[in-house]
């Protein structure tokens, strides 16, 4: 049996709700599990961190959690969504478990190791029943040979293709090549006979076949097991991972466009091919709009919602072309380019209590966080400030939160501050606060939290824009390692504008240090970051800068351009 065809590796009934089934094919251990949305996953049975079997882990219905250190892997794309040892860090996208295709047909779960999908196995027809699998300690070839010689009563001789038809109906037996010296006998039957006695009868056929196969195997040398073949992890992961962000290069289709609040539309973006990269609560994507603009939107996705990205867009009165283009011109079926999700607003899950504070459309990343916390049974409250009940977005998702969503409607600035003072009354030990909303509200929340004595590290803000004043008073030199250019950056001008003049600029978008589009690698020199895009750790590492706002503390910077 080759690994270039679909092979059954489990009965559909083996995949009980919230269970992880351990399978094996050609020496490769498989973790096979069904998510609550029905999707069947066939993964390498091994956590990428320390090699512990995922089949002893926990199926949450949307994610698989490793038993050893609680690493979480998302349904469908198998991307790592959370590393509990570092609650403040977003796992890099490249931490992704190995997956194989899964097909559910005739009550069996099938997979294959071929580079492209082989033709689907022929279905035995509606009403086909899967036989109870029978493991045998023998070479798969020997198992096939013995099965080919069988002639089960009512079905007739099986022959080389292991298929038989007779008065009792159609029977197809299969051999799952678990390893060089291990196999699983499987079968499908389509018959008008009463199922239970029929299945018992065929179970006996397989059991007797097993005895015969193992009797013959006992006279032969035991084949050496097929060695375990794990893929090596990416070199950058082996050296303490840093995140890598690319330009908008994932093609998606607008699968659904829906009004989810006054002046608010939701877009569901489905991948054109393959699975979408894993995202985490708080993550955002860059969306390249048909009119050429690049805009950032937070993902609303709950854990396990991995077959699409969901974003919410409010029509801004002073739209510079982003929200208006989406509201007015974009239609279901349109194609867009987006970036991989990137997370500057990571959700720690080691808090005793989490306080989420949303203002207006700023609710989007917090909805994703709320869903993740609810999924894990961690305590939280979502305080949602909005102009009116009509402007509360994503009603269906809010309804799932029940009383843990507290709305504050139609408050003016003074009332908002008063409400924030109530919410942020006193910092508790092990409480974390996440705030996303319009700039005045972020400022009010920041001031209120500081007054109430919250430590800075416990209060997290998501900026859609960089509201800090950029200091452009310094002047310095930049050297471009690959272009062999040396340029002067005078006071009052950005690195980006100097690069643009020289014709070697990276792509750019927001020009205020918020979106990350114009990021370049820094090879030498001490940067003055000034952006709100890079994480604290990334800034400390000093290996990347945003050319639109970052400057130099040293005399010169050497850039990888």
């Amino acid at each position: 049996m080759s690994d270039m065809t679909w092979v059954p590796v489990a009965n559909a009934s083996d995949l009980a709700p919230r269970h992880v089934f351990q399978g094996r094919l050609l020496g490769q251990e498989l973790a096979i599990w069904r998510a609550d949305d029905g999707n069947v996953n066939v993964w390498e049975n091994r956590c990428l961190h320390r090699g512990v079997r995922l089949s002893i882990g926990v199926n949450t219905g949307s994610e698989l959690v490793c038993q050893y250190h609680g690493w979480r892997y998302a349904n469908r794309n198998a991307g790592c969504t959370y590393i509990p040892a570092h609650p403040a860090d977003a796992p890099p996208h490249t931490i992704c478990n190995r997956t194989w295709p899964a097909l559910e047909q005739d009550g069996l779960i099938w997979t294959h190791f071929a580079p492209v999908d082989p033709p689907r196995p022929e279905s035995l027809g509606a009403g086909a029943l899967a036989l109870r699998p029978q493991p045998v300690a023998a070479a798969p070839e020997l198992a096939r040979a013995v099965l080919a010689g069988l002639s089960p009563e009512g079905f007739g001789p099986l022959g080389q293709d292991l298929v038989a038809s007779g008065p009792a109906g159609r029977l197809r037996l299969m051999v799952q090549a678990a390893d060089a010296g291990r196999a699983v006998l499987r079968g499908l039957v389509l018959s008008d006979e009463a199922p239970l006695p029929l299945l018992r009868r065929l179970s006996l056929v397989l059991r007797l076949a097993r005895d015969e196969i193992e009797r013959r195997a006992a006279t032969l040398p035991v084949p050496a097991p097929i060695p375990h073949r794990s893929e090596r992890v990416a070199p950058e992961l082996a050296e303490m991972p840093e995140m890598v962000s690319g330009p908008a290069r994932i093609r998606v289709r607008v699968a659904k466009k829906q009004i989810v609040g006054e002046d608010i539309v939701a877009l569901e973006l489905a991948g054109l091919r393959g699975t979408l990269p894993a995202s985490q609560p708080g993550a955002h994507i860059d969306v390249a709009l048909p009119n050429g603009l690049l805009r950032q939107y937070s993902l609303v996705n709950a854990p396990g919602e991995t077959d699409r990205y969901v974003i919410g867009i409010k029509r801004e009165a002073q739209s510079t072309g982003g929200s208006a283009a989406i509201h007015d011109s974009l239609a279901e079926g349109d194609l867009l380019a987006i970036s991989e999700p990137r997370n500057n607003f990571t959700l720690r899950r080691d808090a005793e209590e989490t306080v989420l504070i949303a203002g207006g459309i700023g609710v989007t990343p917090l909805l994703s966080m709320a869903a993740a916390l609810r999924d894990e049974g961690l305590p939280f409250t979502l305080h949602y400030f909005a102009a009116s009940a009509e402007t509360l977005a994503f009603g269906e998702r809010l309804a799932l939160l029940g009383e843990r969503m507290v709305p504050y409607l139609g408050l003016d600035a003074a009332q908002t501050t008063l409400a924030l003072q109530g919410i942020l009354k006193g910092p508790g030990a092990d409480r974390q606060v996440y705030v996303c909303g319009p700039a005045p509200m972020l400022d009010a929340a920041r001031a209120t939290a500081a007054e109430a004595g919250w430590p800075e590290a416990a209060v997290h803000f998501e900026y859609f824009a960089n509201t800090r004043e950029i200091d452009t008073s310094s002047s310095f030199r930049i050297e471009l390692a690959r272009s062999a250019l040396s340029l002067e950056v005078p006071a009052g001008r950005s690195i980006l504008s100097v690069l643009q003049e020289a014709g070697v600029a990276p792509p750019s978008s927001c020009s205020q240090g918020a979106c990350g589009t114009c990021m370049v690698r820094l090879l030498e020199g001490e940067p003055d970051h000034q952006d709100v895009y890079l994480t604290g750790a990334e800034k400390a590492a000093g290996e990347k800068i945003l050319t639109c706002v970052s400057r130099a503390k040293s005399d010169r910077l050497i850039l990888d351009l």
Partner: protein, 285 residues
């Protein structure tokens, strides 16, 4: 993996524990395995112990509550100075056989991140999962790895407290299959309890872990202390036995390290540098 694989010189020329001394009664010889070889040991009537393979006598050492021996020519066994302090209780807390390489066992012993998941309610508790930054370095002579300022949240930080708090740990790796950890004593904040795991590689993919404690405790019985340690190790065992591969991979790209794994990253490099091949999968090139 063939049990006949020979240990590399670095692994071979070490002392290894084969039994707690208290478990060796005078008279009948007992048999165990070291590097897949049968080793028998016995206590003579005069209290002296001996060990041998089928064809030769082996060197022996009685230290830290264990009988140690070697198939090679070992140097000095590492020091645990606290063991001789007069007011300490020294307890041989038990031996557990595990079907995974001894180095996997040591790496687990050095790891704090699994406390809330594997030792829930004892050494850690959800949602307190963070492994904070800590220091790890090799001693100047390169003989030992030391991790300091390791903090981890423990739900019952001491016998007198009812709430959780960060507990500080120091880890030493003075030997390829032995590690010693220091942890603030619940009875005397200024002093440290010592908990050691001495690994006996019975094969490439199996070991026996001997647990030895040197602690400031005049309350609990030896049986209770032993029960507690066996309970903890009993929680680790099924995790360890579900690790694949069973030997410790030394290729940096075989598994995905994070910052919390600094100590094990250094341990793996240290094994590579010393040319260890037994119980590990050496890095290629």
């Amino acid at each position: 993996m063939s049990p006949q694989t020979q240990p590399d010189p670095f692994m071979r020329d070490q002392w290894y524990p084969v039994s707690a001394l208290q478990d060796i009664a005078a008279g009948t010889p007992r048999v165990t395995k070291l590097f897949g070889q049968r080793v028998s040991y016995r206590r003579e009537a005069d209290g002296a112990c001996s060990a041998s393979t089928e064809d030769r006598a082996l060197p022996v050492l009685q230290r830290y509550g264990c009988l140690w021996t070697s198939l090679g020519t070992p140097g000095e066994l590492f020091e645990i100075p606290e063991y001789t302090e007069a007011d300490r209780r020294n307890v041989a807390a038990g031996t557990v056989a595990v079907q995974v390489s001894a180095q996997r066992g040591i790496e687990n012993f050095l790891d704090m991140g699994h406390f809330p998941y594997v030792h829930t309610g004892i050494l850690g508790a959800l949602p307190h999962t963070e492994v904070k930054e800590y220091n790890v370095e090799e001693t100047p002579d390169g003989r030992e790895i030391i991790a300091t300022e390791c903090l981890f949240y423990q739900p019952m930080a001491s016998t007198v407290s009812t709430s959780g708090a960060d507990v500080e740990y120091i880890y030493r790796v003075p030997h390829p299959t032995c590690s010693v950890l220091y942890k603030s004593s619940p009875l005397d904040e200024k002093r440290l309890d010592v908990i050691a795991l001495f690994g006996q590689p019975t094969g490439e993919e199996s070991f026996r872990g001997h647990m030895v404690l040197s602690i400031l405790d005049d309350v609990n019985t030896d049986d209770f202390i032993s029960y507690f340690q066996l309970h903890i190790f009993g929680q680790d065992k099924p995790i360890l036995e579900n690790q694949m591969p069973k030997r410790l991979p030394l290729d940096p790209r075989a598994e995905t390290p994070i910052r919390a794994d600094k100590t094990s990253i250094m341990y793996r490099r240290w094994l590579t540098r010393h040319g260890a091949t037994y119980g590990v999968i050496p890095a290629q090139g």
